[in-house]
Symmetry: none
DNA sequence: ACCTACGGGACGTCCCGTTTAT
DNA sequence: ATAAACGGGACGTCCCGTAGGT
């Protein structure tokens, strides 16, 4: 990797943090300059515009974020275990960057007009959901999850609950909402799992 | 001072729409001027700064938003029915303003630094949750909901899921995520309700 | 005269001074308030708008100005003497108000757009010129001025020279330009007068 | 810095037109913005204040104006011919800009208080007068003008008459006053010229 | 006639995104 | 990659003309 390419990557990484915290409009090139130690020209050498830099920064943040939510040592074992891990892992490390989940931030920031950013967020969402879906599908195929279960519905519910709970938790400064959702998921996982008697026995 | 107060209110209402769509940093006083038809002097007579206007606008948006989620003809009957209504009503009218849910938008927008906005969002969240909590508590008191149920947990889960699903729905331009969550709630409501045998009988 | 009418007149007189010095755009109602000791409401009771006050003020200034240039003890005797007096009197008391000749000021100030003020200036000019014309005409009728003389041309020349010289004099802070013009007029008056030999004899 | 200088010049030229028409107080930076197509930042980069811009604009207008009155193909031949040309040329092209003669406008506008503008007008006047004076002096030296003639007096009379006549002409919307003065000048030129018998012979 | 409220709009500062020259 | 230049435009202050209420 050339020196120029390294610099470019460094800019993206620093910018990603700032954009994730303050949003596109709330962050200036000056902020990026200070974070990278570069001068304006040094930034503009690598990106044609603030818009272009933002796209790269958000792309980076989103891809890293999705990777964290979809890879890890816990993605092994039974489908139920994997889903439980996905939830637990989200709660333990809710964000790669300061400023909250890039997916939610990008979604809210771009909902106004920016179609490029919106597409990036959409892609990230789809990727994450696809992973969760395939876990559920595998679980059904292996008889660990009830055959009537709807993978997409389960995946969407997991993502929605976690993102929503993260928003609440950040607002309140507590993990309580995240934990509340996690517990509720235990119930849902028991409900969709086939190993019914076990949970009923243990829960009551 | 009658007329001035009217004007002030009109500014707040127009500003609320714009701030909700574009966020604090993404919206200028010029935008507010255009939306209200006023000139700069006309706006700054009523608000000391953009910050102050934003606080009033967000307060207005949040209070209207919470009111919509917590009042309505459906808040009657059994607790389970009321919770079901809360979810259904959210999905049918997910936003008072263009630009999505003020609670989520404010939460994301203010997470950076603005403590005033953050407090507003926090208050709105607490109000909403309190209403849901009391529905659950009433349900427990009336024996419609299992005595082991945790009202706060249920309320947080409802809010988190709905907000998260709304984010997904807005991103994708479909109501699918919202509907997925709604269906999942049917399962949860059945689970926490005491009229157990009915659901089990009908579902299987 | 009522007290209200007196106040109105006082406002006009004070405003006339200020408008004559600073022009319509360069003078504020606040200035008028300070000059009269009245409050805003006190001024607006008598005039519907700044524009209306300005019209009255300029009308007053112009009429006073024209009166000064066309009335006086010197308007007696031969036509040549009267013209000489008109010139001398202008130079001795070039302005009723501080700020220069209202005619020139109004003409320059109103040349942009204000048709009401422009008309006032035009009327004042016509009045002044008419007086000078009739002096010349009388002179021709009495054989004191050459029959070939053009009254309007002479009147216009007198007014133009005096106004122009006043402008120069005010700019330079000297009366020299006014005196230069006065001397030149002696030559002209001699030229148009019929008592030719006298001047030739005395001048050479 | 090439481009900036061009922009600065363009601003001055456009501003000169507007200031000449409406005066300093009657013209806003907004007007200049519209005329130049620039935004506020673009204007204030080149001038520290409205005052500074006005000085440059008036300086430009005055210098252009004086140049027009003092240069041209007619400034050749006999002194009398040159003076005749000066008058004729003024009447034919009385103003470089819309809004009348910058000298008179500035003089009236600045008579209030602005010493910077006043000085500019004064300088312009002196320059113009100097040119006319030197023509007369040359005429005297060459024996074309009577040795008793006073150059400064003649120059002041020309300037005063023309400026005054222009004011009248603009007020009335006719060139009549200008023409009246021009004709009167024929008489004066004949009077101060040495080729006496010619005019007398032709006029009578 | 005073006083206050109201909305208009000019002025000037500051900083931002971008370009250019080095 | 730096640094300065450039023009855009947001922000907030101030005062102005005007309208009402007292």
């Amino acid at each position: 990797m050339q020196k120029g390419e390294q610099t470019r990557q460094r800019i993206i990484e620093e910018a990603a943090k700032i954009f994730n915290q303050r949003g596109f409009a709330g962050c200036s090139i000056q902020d990026v300059m200070e974070a990278t130690g570069l001068e304006k020209g040094g930034v503009y050498r690598h990106f044609a515009s603030k818009e272009e830099l933002a796209v790269e920064a958000f792309r980076y943040a989103l891809s890293l974020s999705v990777k964290m939510r979809t890879e890890g040592p816990g993605y092994a074992g039974s489908a139920i275990e994997q889903l439980r891990y996905a939830v637990r892992h989200f709660i333990e490390t809710p964000s790669v960057f300061p400023g909250g989940c890039p997916l939610m931030n990008t979604a809210v920031d771009a909902n106004d007009g920016n179609p490029a950013l919106r597409q990036l967020a959409c892609d990230a969402l789809k990727k994450w959901r696809a992973v969760l879906c395939s876990i559920v599908e595998d679980g059904i195929a292996h008889g660990e999850i009830r055959s009537g279960a709807n993978p997409r519905q389960i995946a969407n519910t997991i993502i929605a609950s976690l993102e929503g709970a993260l928003m609440i938790s950040r607002l309140e400064g507590t993990k309580r909402a995240l934990c509340d959702v996690q517990e509720m998921f235990e119930m849902i996982l028991a409900e969709i799992g086939t190993a019914r008697e076990v949970r009923l026995g243990s829960a009551e």
